[in-house]
Symmetry: D2
Subunit: 439 residues, 4 copies
Amino acid sequence: MSEFFSNVSKIQYEGKNSDNPLAFKYYNPDEVIGGKTMKDHLRFAVAYWHTFQGTGGDPFGPGTAVRPWDNITDPMELAKAKVAANFEFCEKLGVPFYCFHDRDIAPEASTLRETNKRLDEIVALMKEYMKTSSVKLLWGTTNAFGNPRFVHGASTSPNADVFAFAAAQVKKAMEITLELGGQNYVFWGGREGYETLLNTDMKLELDNMGRFLRMAVDYAKEIGFKGQFLIEPKPKEPTKHQYDFDTATVVGFLRAHGLENDFKMNIEANHATLAAHTFQHEVYTARVNNVFGSIDANQGDLLLGWDTDQFPTNIYDTTLCMYEVLKAGGFTTGGLNFDSKVRRGSFEPIDLFYAHIAGMDAFAKGLKIAYKMVSEGKFDKVIEDRYASYKSGIGSDIVNGKVGFKELEKYALEHDQVKNVSGRQEVLESMLNKYILED
Amino acid sequence: MSEFFSNVSKIQYEGKNSDNPLAFKYYNPDEVIGGKTMKDHLRFAVAYWHTFQGTGGDPFGPGTAVRPWDNITDPMELAKAKVAANFEFCEKLGVPFYCFHDRDIAPEASTLRETNKRLDEIVALMKEYMKTSSVKLLWGTTNAFGNPRFVHGASTSPNADVFAFAAAQVKKAMEITLELGGQNYVFWGGREGYETLLNTDMKLELDNMGRFLRMAVDYAKEIGFKGQFLIEPKPKEPTKHQYDFDTATVVGFLRAHGLENDFKMNIEANHATLAAHTFQHEVYTARVNNVFGSIDANQGDLLLGWDTDQFPTNIYDTTLCMYEVLKAGGFTTGGLNFDSKVRRGSFEPIDLFYAHIAGMDAFAKGLKIAYKMVSEGKFDKVIEDRYASYKSGIGSDIVNGKVGFKELEKYALEHDQVKNVSGRQEVLESMLNKYILED
Amino acid sequence: MSEFFSNVSKIQYEGKNSDNPLAFKYYNPDEVIGGKTMKDHLRFAVAYWHTFQGTGGDPFGPGTAVRPWDNITDPMELAKAKVAANFEFCEKLGVPFYCFHDRDIAPEASTLRETNKRLDEIVALMKEYMKTSSVKLLWGTTNAFGNPRFVHGASTSPNADVFAFAAAQVKKAMEITLELGGQNYVFWGGREGYETLLNTDMKLELDNMGRFLRMAVDYAKEIGFKGQFLIEPKPKEPTKHQYDFDTATVVGFLRAHGLENDFKMNIEANHATLAAHTFQHEVYTARVNNVFGSIDANQGDLLLGWDTDQFPTNIYDTTLCMYEVLKAGGFTTGGLNFDSKVRRGSFEPIDLFYAHIAGMDAFAKGLKIAYKMVSEGKFDKVIEDRYASYKSGIGSDIVNGKVGFKELEKYALEHDQVKNVSGRQEVLESMLNKYILED
Amino acid sequence: MSEFFSNVSKIQYEGKNSDNPLAFKYYNPDEVIGGKTMKDHLRFAVAYWHTFQGTGGDPFGPGTAVRPWDNITDPMELAKAKVAANFEFCEKLGVPFYCFHDRDIAPEASTLRETNKRLDEIVALMKEYMKTSSVKLLWGTTNAFGNPRFVHGASTSPNADVFAFAAAQVKKAMEITLELGGQNYVFWGGREGYETLLNTDMKLELDNMGRFLRMAVDYAKEIGFKGQFLIEPKPKEPTKHQYDFDTATVVGFLRAHGLENDFKMNIEANHATLAAHTFQHEVYTARVNNVFGSIDANQGDLLLGWDTDQFPTNIYDTTLCMYEVLKAGGFTTGGLNFDSKVRRGSFEPIDLFYAHIAGMDAFAKGLKIAYKMVSEGKFDKVIEDRYASYKSGIGSDIVNGKVGFKELEKYALEHDQVKNVSGRQEVLESMLNKYILED
Ligand SMILES: [Co+2]
Ligand SMILES: [Co+2]
Ligand SMILES: [Co+2]
Ligand SMILES: [Co+2]
Ligand SMILES: [Co+2]
Ligand SMILES: [Co+2]
Ligand SMILES: [Co+2]
Ligand SMILES: [Co+2]
């Protein structure tokens, strides 16, 4: 098949002084940082839905995107063209992974059986490409929210037939993820939530969601899928209230259903801020709960109340994200998946390259800054000093469970003129700026 | 001691046509609804902090409140006057309960020992009042956030001496709550959270919070305190991020620390909306997790981003709150505590009565509406019908764990032309209006 | 043409005890309130776009709506069917008006000339219907935001050809509005705003928007269109920042461009809250600036950050809206246009009736309550008393411009022990509840 | 008088590699950028209220701040000590300006006459200091919101005596600002707004605010005050709705009251974001309306809903602010006033230095980046190209008023196949990053 982006060659690293928007300024894939290449640190992935399925449509108008496959009308031919485009695009960008929903790669047919056949056909084609391409599958997932049958949810639908359909769909999506060597399988809540409590049985819906995830775990064992299961929290949109509100909520849900050892988190930056948390907070929360898995790399507009899925360019966010990732020991099966869409106004094909390059550079620079922060250990030192009182004496007794209220009261009566020290927030923000701004 | 509100007599129920702002229009304490008096259903409480300690001060100016005890200058005399005022106020309003923080009832002295003595003196006085008064203690709690020593938190302070001090303080507050027959003991997060992650060890802080709560449970057993422990979620303010973000977060935290059987929730309406949930959502979430305990009755302004603690007058909110309370089987140890403050502009003593009456009437009417909704069962019927598919056939098999992905795929392949029915949100909202607006 | 909603007859008023969701409980069109029928007070309109063009699609999935015209595939046949459906629907509901965008009523063709011909054909058909129908056109407007040509705005596009196209489109839309006897012509900002300041010349864009509106005014004179021009503020969505942010912003813009006598406001409830104002605030602001025109009746979800355009059922909002409308002397050319869409989950045709009835009843009841509030004058009395100091003495001198800082300093030095009275917010909220809850 | 900050010497510029938190890394006052020193570009000012009056108190606890004047108890002695501290602090920091409210510098007495005498005493002392100090007064203002008399507003109070008192207070504050050579006089809305519309006459309040500002203008002429009047917009807090919502609102208000030539804007970053605008948007809006005056330099937390007044350290914000300031031709009478407070947890005196240095460095670096952006003109070129169609042909005719709807329709019918180009947002964000991250 001929090239789709014939005017773009493989993107090269040209260094920070380059003015070429088709070159990397910071992302130098083979550059080694702390014994690991940038490529292995960052594990970038392209999101099939935004990049090959996105049109730029919004609630106020249809798509604006101009794409090199716009002339193809047959649905399966179009699907095959996008497979080719995906591998071409990832290779030219030097992105080692891609991610998809089942319905991104093959269009739904009128019956489930026929739909699954279509999937098989596309998966076979993908496998063919993957024989020669270095591009791998980071994760697969299911689109169980777009089709009108999921109007009231999938595993949380009030209609048991919908639960069954969703189960069949996830089963198949897990199988093809396995077939393609996918390293993770993601659950994003879709329409798992409610529009109004007036018509909702929240208890049954939550229990059913738990049952559904349990079945997925069981089926993975059955077919030998060893990839990591991931849940991607989001607080609202499309439903008024999404059950997987944020990391803390999901962690609590998993514990309540005995699933805490089977799932990790796929944290999306924009979902974090929609839930009124910083991106760093969500990654940190996942880390300290031992459920950090992967990242949906994008950014939101904090002055807007919906999921804008913008390409990530804010250097504070990429730095602090990578700081947490490094603290978590780096990615294992996870990676940085660009769940990001070019703006409706950035409708030309070349914008797809520009935007990914912008995001990759922002994360590459963020990694470099974060690595320096971690390796110099200044922030660690601040924290170590700040909590030093828990290393000995009464603090150590508290941590080690040697004292209770009575002992502590006794201690406090003798030590009631407490001395604190400043938290130094402004100094620390300035320190962070120094890392970001210095060469 | 002479009266403080001498121009106000016991507030009477005059019925819905009354124009008297010093009379109840809906709250008729002895009126029986479903076999229980309104008084027993609603279990109102006055919050000592807002009503006897509140000044109307805000970050832009000092207090405006004019209070009958303004002429008293000696701190302990003032504290005693407020005890008298509390019982007079509750009795005149016909409110059966009050709630307090330790520091509301007795001012802190220069040493912890002396502070505790002051507490003992006031508690003795309160007990004296309670011999003849019908007013009881709904719950006690600790103010471990106001004093500068708690600048970086209490149980989550980086300073172990602060942890110890907070422990001593809660120990004492539990003792006096027990002494006064308090039916619950509340933990509100105070400054348990962080200002910036740059200086925070979130893991240690969360673990310490768990250790602290465990010590409280242990000490309660030791002293025979049988009251219910309650946690009151809040997402932000005073800290940028409060650990007890919302009910789901707290439930997850409790499970992670093996405390899920020892704590229930005290849901505050304004904290719910600050966390981007409806008030009903939070009560419902507590209910389905079996942790519903009590209510901090107030309302926020959804167009403002801080905790306004307004008196609750929105009839939708009071109705849907009472709907959930009735669904939960009604209050056991909990109640409706007015964690509400008169506006800074409502600075006259009489406004304290007006405001409580406004809130009590709003909840009394809400109870009546909710009771009718529950007893007529129309909303229950809607939900029963909507989820009927889980009562038999494949739905029943799902709920009973009889099927997995393979069986469901088989089913779905044969039932892939799914039929859904409308969720009818607009009809249900109209139905709710009918309950609210009809006589 | 045969009926589209054959299972629905003309909706009747059955009174507040009715349980029939296809009957009015409060809207009794011929009931006279203060010398005017409810129909004339409320001047309801159906919005063509939501009701006949809406599909229930959202950014996460295509439409769910089931409509009686779904089997029609030819675009112009479909357009004609919807004309019939519109008149049938409005008549059955007893709604006296409808509103449309040009592109709602006739689909765009490949050339502007052909598109205009299509419009003429549909307009002729509408005129035919209007000969026998009592249903009138409240207002027309232009959809200059959906088509990809408007990706960067219409009158504020960086592309002058787009400005010209938009001008041609508004010209035609004004002509057909005149032809159909439309009483107003509305400008909603569409994509008049920006996505990022990095590529925006805000000054030129704002000036061009002013030039565009001036041309519209001039052209109206030329063709003898006497209807009222309206601007509908919205702060964000679809663009990151919409120029017509809120009423105050638009009023300032109009004054800056000498257009303040040519435009009034079309206030949408959901846009008000997106701009962090109450619905009442926006109507009040329009009223005191003498630019109150019309209402887009809907409601938002204050816990969500996007324009949900829900059917209005909150009785506080409808009451306070009608209170302001009555204070403004009632509608003249304006009315209550349901810029409201059934939820994606309310996808059945019958939901269109249910939802409009829910909204009409909520406004009818709101009108009745508001009328009582206005006629009893208790709130007016509160305000009159509260500001009485400006009726005489120094207050009167201030208002009448008789004093300056020197005189006021002299006065203040002699009157520096100021006495204020409580603002009584809680009493007033309780008073409002009494109006709402009483029969 | 002895030194207050004796452990701190004059802060030196040590360059970007310095790790000394008591040295500047970017602010090099005499460094010339584009023909002007950094000092003259930035015109930093210290805010008396936060730095010398701030305590770290919040609604949940009293102040934590430890200050070298804590041992002084006599109010006027304390006031005098703070005068000394102000000059010492500004000189050590090398900040050329300070700003104050009347009540910051001298405590209120029991009568207005006595209060004014206190002001005179302090002002005389300040003048004495200013004879030898290089530190100047950037602006003065009035605190007409803290004292309980302003509970319902100042110029918008329902009580005419309060209006008179506020007038007397502003009169005096203008006089002392003149006396001290202040270059501007600021009006921040204080409590000019409302808590509930139920008790508010918005029309009278707005008109009175207009009358008040008119009196100020008249009195300035009378006394020969030539400084610039500034209004500082804020959307909410302390009141639920502040009348000076944002720049666009204030500009509209000024035009409505014929005051548009007498006032410019003092834009505060945190107020911008509370109003759902970016900081840049507000400065840009002021610029294109010819009302840009001065800056209150701070930053908010976009995930919090209240005015946090944090020290500005976000390099994107300082860069884009300075970009707009340079585009506006630089400051004339205005400057960068740190309306910023150290966090409650940053309670040590040294934190005052740390925090100001953090903010000054962030703005100094922002200036350098912005200057490079402006002088290289790449962003200007992008905009020039993007809007080129308005320089000739139909675009030029539009701008020059040569065409109306008829001519444009004619043109559009012939040019209806419009071609747009991408807005390139992602490229531009990457370009901005390059400026920020490069050396
Ligand atoms: Co995502
Ligand atoms: Co997203
Ligand atoms: Co509370
Ligand atoms: Co609260
Ligand atoms: Co609208
Ligand atoms: Co809308
Ligand atoms: Co300010
Ligand atoms: Co501020």
